[in-house]
């Protein structure tokens, strides 16, 4: 910016700074001139210094600063001495419930008062001024450009970038793998997704030595048919180690005991692949709880309309029709978990889901039956 000093406004004459008779304002104006600034308007806010109005404004601003300090002190005092420890259920009479509001009020008021004080100082006490400065928009002067060009050309010449094409190419060829080497360590983040998207905790071969996996509740209790009443539902997990934790995110299943008529409807509607494995047990059906849209739990069961609703994006699935999507952004049904009951009367899964549960991915294996709907 100081490069603009020599291009001073034509209408203003430079001032001889060695003149001892110059006033402070004249010296100051010379500074403005050198920065291409012109004063359009400048007047003190109060023509007569020390009037009542001015004093009053000073008192107001000063008062704001002092009160700001008072509230800041109150904040510090409250922060240290106001009872703050959580003591369970409390009413508004208990002081500790007011801890955070007191902090907010004191700190907020302190900052706001100081802010308004500074702003009032600027708007009511500073001189009224309007100045105009040259913008010097656009590029540098032609001279500067020419000099820069010559400098860069010289640089290119010195390095011989044009004369030594081999060096340039070799440098580029060398630098490209170096750049690759710089980001290659990020490869440590890569991990083969393997079967994580297709195999769930219901896979007996992988998690239970080939023995059918039982159904359990969150607390580990195994599930028997008499634990669910008609029209009722239960969230169940594979009865394996950590089966109910986030380690098996695609395994949760919503076990629904349908009413007689609904179960009959569902049997009539079953996709061939589910008929083949006899996926229902009695009136019980188990649907993957993981929405086939983006994976939220589709867990709101509406008994009246026999729909499952995913609260994240409102996909709706028809319980009596393979949990096929009937509304919203989901495109695939919630996979059925083929059910049976073992000799001891506990529910088991006869196999893993027949199609991968959860959101889709580009190479998701799908059975032809899935495309029928």
């Amino acid at each position: 910016m100081s490069a603009h000093n020599d291009s001073a406004r034509p209408d203003a004459e430079p001032v001889d700074l060695s003149d001892p008779k110059l006033s402070r304002f004249e010296v100051y104006k010379e500074g403005l001139r050198r920065d291409d600034i012109e004063i359009i308007h400048y007047e003190p806010r109060f023509a007569k210094p020390g009037t009542k109005a001015e004093k009053r404004m000073e008192r107001i601003v000063g008062g704001m600063f002092l009160f700001s300090g008072l509230f800041a002190t109150a904040f510090v005092v409250a922060y240290i001495w106001w009872p703050w420890e959580y003591e369970g259920v409390a009413t508004w009479r208990d002081l500790q419930t007011w801890y955070t509001p007191v902090l907010g009020t004191t700190l907020g008021l302190s900052l706001l008062l100081f802010a308004v004080g500074v702003l009032t100082w600027a708007k009511k006490l500073l001189p009224i001024e309007e100045l105009v400065q040259d913008r010097h928009d656009g590029g540098s002067s032609a001279e500067d450009r020419r000099i820069a060009e010559a400098t860069v050309d010289g640089l290119v010449e010195d390095m011989g970038l044009k004369r030594r094409p081999f060096l340039v190419k070799a440098a580029l060829l060398g630098a490209a793998p170096l750049g690759l080497a710089a980001v290659a360590p990020l490869g440590a983040l890569l991990k083969d997704p393997g079967d994580m998207l297709t195999v769930t905790g219901w896979n007996a071969e992988k998690y239970n030595d080939g023995e059918p996996i039982r159904l359990m509740m969150k607390d580990g209790a195994l599930v028997r048919p008499d634990m669910v009443s008609a029209g009722g539902q239960l969230t169940v997990f594979p009865a394996i180690d950590h089966g109910a934790t986030n380690q098996f995110p695609t395994s949760p299943v919503l076990l629904i005991r349908l009413r007689e008529a609904d179960a009959a409807t569902l049997r009539g509607n079953l996709y061939p692949m589910y008929q083949d494995v006899d996926a229902l047990w009695g009136n019980f059906v188990g649907y993957s709880k993981i929405c086939t849209h983006v994976g939220c739990p589709a867990s709101l069961y509406e008994q009246q309309s026999q729909r499952l609703l995913c609260p994240c994006h409102q996909s709706q699935f028809n319980v009596v029709d393979n949990a096929a999507p009937v509304f919203g952004p989901a495109t695939r049904h919630l996979p059925l978990l083929p059910l049976d009951v073992d000799d001891e009367g506990y529910f088991i899964a006869t196999s893993d889901f027949l199609v991968p549960p959860g959101p889709a991915f580009w190479n998701r294996p799908s059975l032809p039956e899935e495309d029928e709907k």
């Binding site: 907010g104 907020g108 609260p311 994240c312 991915f361």
Partner: protein, 528 residues
Amino acid sequence: MKRRKGTSDSLLTKAGGELDDRFKLAGPARVLLNKVFPDHWSFLLGEIALFSFILLLLSGTFLALFFEPSMVEVTYNGVYVPLQGIDMSRAYESALDISFETRGGLFMRQMHHWATLLFMAAILVHMLRIFFTGAFRAPRETNWMIGIILFWVGFFEGFFGYSLPDDGLSGTGLRIMEGMTESVPFIGPWASAALFRGQFPGTDVISMIYIIHVFIFPLILLGLIVVHVGLVFAQKHTQWPGPGRTEHNVVGFRMFPNYVMKQVGFMLFIWGVIGAMAGLFQINPIWLFGPYEVSVVSSASQPDFYVMYLDGLIRLFPAWEFRVPPYFTLPAVFWPAIAGMGLSVMLPLLYPALERRFTKDRGHHNLLQRPRDNPARTGLGMMVVVFWIVGVISGGNDVFAEKFGISLNAMTWAGRIGLVVLPIITYYVTYRICLGLQQHDREVLAHGLETGILMRDPNGRFYEVHQPLAEPDEHGHTELEYGGWVVPKKMNRVGALEPTEKGFFKSIEEPSENGGAERRDEIESGKH
């Protein structure tokens, strides 16, 4: 009195001299102190984001002292009774400890969250101001693009931030992000496995997004903000047209003391508002959500507002899955989530270049345009605004459906139709309103102000008396050129009537003691 003043003067001079000896400051300091800034309230919107960001750094540092980004499973034994004995991650436990067992911790958490919301909201409003006034035009396209990148880095910084506590709501957000990531053709499953070190949710994602949230992204934001503000400084701020204002000058007041004092005051004001909100208004009560479990979710699960429009698009997009069995599947969510986000990044980034291309306007512009003077741009901008609003409302369509007793499916369909139809209507309506406003400006310039005085001529015809703004020709017309700025529309604006009373409780129009009231009006009239 006099002696003390002399001493302080010479002390300042001495200190200045010592500094200048070492750092050669006199020249650059003068340039800085005298730099002229144009003044308008709308130039301060970006500052709200800047000041919120400073507060975010401060409150975030406090939180980082107490938060543990670990997904190790622990059993909660803290003071909050409803969660006692429940298994959760250490991250969630430490977030609860910040809320319940750290002095002022809840206050800081809420301050951090409110400041984030204000940061993102201020960026959006600031962006609208820049767009509708054409401030992004040459030579400032670079800074516009930096601003867009700032928004998107802030978007993910905020998303990762509210994902850190590992509560029920934030886990649901991460789950949706995982589903979106999986949908990308060919790399989806690998990208998801890299993000979560294997299967979602895994045990590493919190520590990974933690380092992004507290180090990588803040560093990028800080760097970009410095460049952003630095460019505004170096390229000099745009200004509204007005008397004496040209493309080649800046009219306003000096950086010191006027501008800096107003900035400091404004900064403290923003901080005061956020501080008061942090204490008085609850936000993100994570203890109510419980730890994240893949099988648990509640209705009314909404992301923060700046993510909501994307969530809305995901809700509205129809179930269109492209499948070539058994080789290839393109999930429906790819379109709104990945393609939609990509467009939301690229279109604004490229807009200045597109406008240059279509208008063939390659000149530099330092004077702003009123939105009405560029109806096509204003219309396009309003289209995006309406599209965004429909998206945001649809992001909460379950809440709207419940609170207003509307069918959820009707809300979805209204969103689907609205998303397509409303922007088109908006463009047309905006365009017509702009033309109407332009025409009214021209009318006043040609015929004068409407005085509200009705006259009846001897034939019985009623007509309104117009007050011309200049000496009219023989047809009663004035040849005034439109200056790109407010045309007075009321008599008191031109001093023909008493000014309307200003002031809330009592009039502030009374002359001040230096009799400067009239002159002050005259000065301010150029600015507003």
